[in-house]
């Protein structure tokens, strides 16, 4: 197998990736090479959102990014959402609202919702539903997740007012 070397910048830190097969997705490299398994692997074809990560300013599916092409970008994963030992508003809200069950969709949803609230801290119900329509959740039926978004949005409005 041909391999290559490159550097990824994840959560503010530079990571050397050595001897990697060129076909590896960013999701796989994060999880299996860089010790960052927070982004999840539910479908690996862009149909579930559980691998959502932020590249520069956009939320994308980590499984659909060829890792070796993600050089010179700022990659943010769930592990980088809050400073170590702290929780950001959306994370707190997920716990408070009961939005976490099995938790497999949770990291992807948090990355997605964090970005949504960054651009719109007063989203209406339909806006939220559309924004998270690419993040499948099989446990909750979304009710508590929507509640958590409302909670987090309120926290964010409070923090910025």
């Amino acid at each position: 197998m041909t391999t290559n070397h490159y550097t990824l910048k994840v959560n503010g830190k530079e990571h050397q990736v050595a001897d990697a097969w060129a076909g590896e997705s960013l999701l796989w490299v994060l999880r299996e090479r860089l010790g960052l398994p927070g982004a999840k692997n539910a479908c690996e074809e862009g149909e579930c959102g559980s691998c959502s990560v932020r590249i520069d300013d956009e939320v994308v599916c980590g499984c659909l990014v060829l890792a070796a092409t993600a050089v010179d970008c700022e990659i943010t994963t769930i592990e980088g959402l809050a400073p170590e030992g702290e929780l950001v508003d959306v994370q707190e809200a997920f716990i408070e609202a009961g939005a976490v069950q099995c938790g497999f969709c949770t990291p992807g949803l948090l990355v997605t919702i964090d970005k949504l609230l960054e651009t719109n801290n007063q989203p209406d119900d339909l806006t939220v539903r559309e924004a998270i329509s690419g993040n499948l959740c099989r446990c909750t039926g979304y009710g508590r997740i929507l509640e958590a978004v409302n909670l987090a949005a309120a926290k964010r409005r409070e923090a910025t007012s």
Binding site: C102, T106, T140, G141, R144
Partner: protein
């Protein structure tokens, strides 16, 4: 005895409160370890070669090409299975690796361990299997008469239920034939695990599952190892819903680790997951209901056939439920129900949330609506008139001794005001962003349904759970092998421990076969009752030991001592000791908790087969674009019989989540199988509801009638939300479209009904 009030200074939430999940923080920070997140130095990657044919004889398997690939450590086939080749949940009828025949598309044929998933993929591609393809048996109705496709025969189980006077005829009779498609549990966390060889020649497996001990026992037999050398530990589980009750990669991983002497990790792809676990049984159901002209149900006749697919899994228990609960939560004096589950070359089916009662609820509720129409009676009134209540007899002849608030769930559900906010935004209409409809194209429908099923295991199964409570320095540690799959048992275990022992800090030890006895399966809505009961009893035993010790040490009367909020106090008020101080010497209790015995049913399907039952009702409001057949469920309202609410927030999560799986089955979810082949083994084509498909779920009422015999009076709540939700949505679609819609899921073509269109 002085009547003293002790106020609670304890902040940690107890029974009845919305305690937060102990795994909440790791889950929101991405640090919770799911089975697919496991990693070990020097580990290999495992992979599975699966049959591309639903039915074939294997003439030869050539692994030499795969072994020659650089980086490949092992390629194993059936000849490398040291113990029993067969395993199974109820019957050992499924090979660990196929030997001379494959019976379904996706059956495991060979396994590989290599240095990288890409190497694994290439090795799998390099294995040459010479198949002699045979015609698959795919029609469940033809299965019994067909040539057996398995030495155990094609009939997995038939139940004949005869109840009451068989000669009763109703003046009003309605008949219908219904069909339910194959649903997938579609948990998000794919099958995955990590196996490590142990120094004693045994193996350790970290895996996501629903029932560690059953897995361990099945695998040990296949490995030819004593159970104590096979140690299974629960890893983070990304949802289950029944699909993890059977083995998937467990034995394969252990074989590879033992063979290579190295840790081996395996993670199924989504496509592989669709082939790698059992599904909800597709069902064909014929019903005839008899009633008098006042709407009193007199008799039900039904013929049920479930497609079990290639292997038995839990089919026997599923058909039992389907048959016992075939007519719904109604008092019916006479019944003739014939239920059969058969073997075919279709994908194997087994456990999924609702377990047989989901399919029949679609049938019996459609029949109730038909009957109401035939009687000219309000469908809610008809249901209330015939609703089961405590003291009534089921079709199995069993008398319901616990709570059966059927009328209560129906009434509270239908009386609940709708909170629907009208919206003309195209995004909220059927078709969504596809902009297919304008508001005037849409018709609205509304209907309700009610359903029920048994809690816990039935038919004489020795059902139990085990728990160990260890108390030292005022801190309790609970060890229980109950599989936390997302449902929140870990939260409840802490709440129960705090309730009984008055401690603040409760540590939950890992769930593992090596440290504690079986907890039974996380299924059948049983863990709150069974493992919750085990934890309660273990804590109570420790409390008793503690009080006895204190009574002895401090020469106080045992009957005078109570343990409250971290203090041991005497009711007479002259003694008090801090719990932490009192427990510097550890205390421990290891208990096994069994529920009340049940019994097999007789040749007429009669007997006290069940422990307890839970009931729920749903009301659905749907918007339909009849011309295009597109739908949107816009509101769901539900009431559920819960016995007692132990954690309101988690209960809401169960009701909402269970309903979403019901909505999915009603309008979009189906594993499409043609000639034994799955045509949509991906999340691109197996559609589950998104946030734009799932309506708000209004909880009209939690009906709290404490269940006798249940710990804290609480019933399991996981399954009822998935039972009547599908039936209610389909009924609402019938209301909107005036179509019969006898098949679930309802497809656009079923609503549009074009001529010459056979999907």
């Amino acid at each position: 005895m002085t009547d003293i009030q002790i106020t609670s200074p304890v902040s940690a939430p107890r029974i009845g409160e919305s305690a937060p999940r102990p795994d909440g923080v790791p889950k929101v920070t991405g640090t919770f370890t799911f089975s697919s997140d496991l990693w070990h130095n020097n580990m290999l990657w495992g992979g599975t070669l699966r049959s591309p044919h639903p039915s074939a004889n294997i003439k030869s398997i050539d692994i030499s090409g795969a072994l020659a690939i650089n980086g490949v450590s092992a390629v194993l086939t059936h000849t490398d299975v040291p113990g029993s080749l067969l395993y199974g949940l109820e019957h050992a009828d499924q090979p660990v690796l196929a030997a001379d025949v494959v019976r379904y598309e996706g059956e495991s044929v060979a396994i590989v361990a290599a240095d990288h998933p890409e190497t694994v993929r290439r090795a799998l591609a390099a294995i040459v299997v010479d198949y002699q393809v045979t015609a698959p048996l795919v029609d469940p109705e033809a299965a019994e008469q067909a040539e057996p496709i398995h030495p155990d025969g094609n009939l997995i189980r038939r139940l004949r239920l005869r109840h009451g006077d068989q000669n009763i005829q109703g003046e009003i009779q309605v008949e219908g034939t219904y069909e339910v498609g194959m649903q997938d549990q579609a948990f998000l966390g794919p099958e995955s695990g990590l196996a490590l060889p142990s120094e004693d020649g045994g193996v350790e497996l970290f895996v996501s599952t629903q029932w560690l001990h059953s897995d361990r026992d099945q695998v040990a037999v296949c490995l030819g190892l004593p159970p104590e050398k096979v140690r299974f530990t629960l890893s983070g589980v990304g949802g289950a819903f029944g699909a993890r009750e059977d083995l998937s990669l467990h034995a394969h991983l252990c074989l590879l680790a033992l063979h290579t002497g190295r840790p081996v990790k395996m993670v199924y792809s989504r496509e592989e997951s669709f082939h790698g676990h059992v599904h909800r049984h597709p069902a064909r159901m014929w019903y005839r209901h008899h009633a008098d002209t006042d709407g009193n149900l007199l008799r039900v006749e039904a013929r049920l056939i479930l497609d079990g697919g290639a292997y038995a899994s839990s089919s026997g228990a599923v058909i039992s439920n389907a048959t016992c609960f075939a007519a719904g939560p109604y008092l019916i004096p006479s019944a003739d129900i014939d239920g059969a589950v058969v073997r075919t070359n279709n994908p194997p089916c087994g456990a999924m949330r609702g377990f047989g009662a989901v399919q029949t609820c679609v049938g019996h509720e459609a029949q109730m609506d038909k009957l109401a129409a035939a009687l000219g009676m309000d469908p809610v009134e008809l249901r209330l008139k015939n609703a089961l209540k405590s003291g009534d007899k089921l079709l199995t002849g069993q008398t319901i001794t616990g709570a059966a608030p059927v009328a209560e769930v129906i009434k509270s559900c239908v009386d609940h005001p709708s909170t629907l906010i009208p919206s003309d935004d195209m995004m909220s209409l059927p078709g969504g962003a596809g902009r297919t409809a304008d508001p005037h194209h849409i018709v609205r429908g509304q209907a309700m349904a009610v359903g029920f099923k048994n809690l816990l295991f039935s038919e004489g199964f020795d059902d139990y759970s085990s728990a160990i409570c260890h108390l030292v320095d005022g801190v309790a540690t609970i060890t229980c092998a109950c599989a936390e799959v997302g449902q929140g048992f870990v939260t409840l275990a802490q709440q129960i421990t705090r309730e009984v022992l008055g401690v603040e800090e409760v540590i939950l030890a890992p769930a593992a076969t090596a440290t504690v006895g079986s907890a039974g399966s996380t299924s059948a809505s049983r863990q709150t009752w069974m493992s919750g009961g085990a934890v309660q009893k273990a804590c109570e035993a420790v409390r008793q030991q503690l009080l006895e010790r204190i009574a002895d040490q401090h020469q106080v009367n045992l009957d005078d001592l109570v343990l409250v909020d971290g203090q041991i106090v005497s009711l007479s008020g002259n003694f008090s000791l801090d719990l932490a101080t009192a427990t510097t010497e550890p205390l421990e209790a290891d208990i096994e908790y069994h529920h009340a015995p049940t019994y097999p049913v007789d040749e007429n399907g009669q007997g006290d087969a069940h422990v307890s039952f839970a009931f729920a009702a749903h009301r659905a409001v749907v918007d339909v674009d009849p011309e295009l057949g597109l739908v949107k469920v816009v509101e769901l309202t539900t009431s559920q019989d819960v016995g007692r609410l132990l954690n309101p927030l988690q209960a809401v999560g169960q009701l909402e989540g269970g309903a979403s799986q019901g909505v999915g089955l009603a309008v979009m979810e189906e594993v499409l199988v043609t000639e034994g082949r799955i045509r949509n083994a991906s999340f691109t084509d197996y559609l589950i509801p998104t946030a734009l498909d799932m309506p708000p779920v209004e909880i009209a009422a939690f009906i709290e009638q404490p269940e006798p015999g249940a710990p804290f009076g609480a019933k399991g709540i996981g399954e009822p939300p998935s039972i009547s939700s599908t039936a209610a949505v389909v009924a609402a679609l019938r209301d909107a479209t005036k179509r019969e819609l006898p098949r679930v899921p309802v497809r656009p073509t079923d609503i549009v009904q074009l001529e010459d269109d056979t999907p």
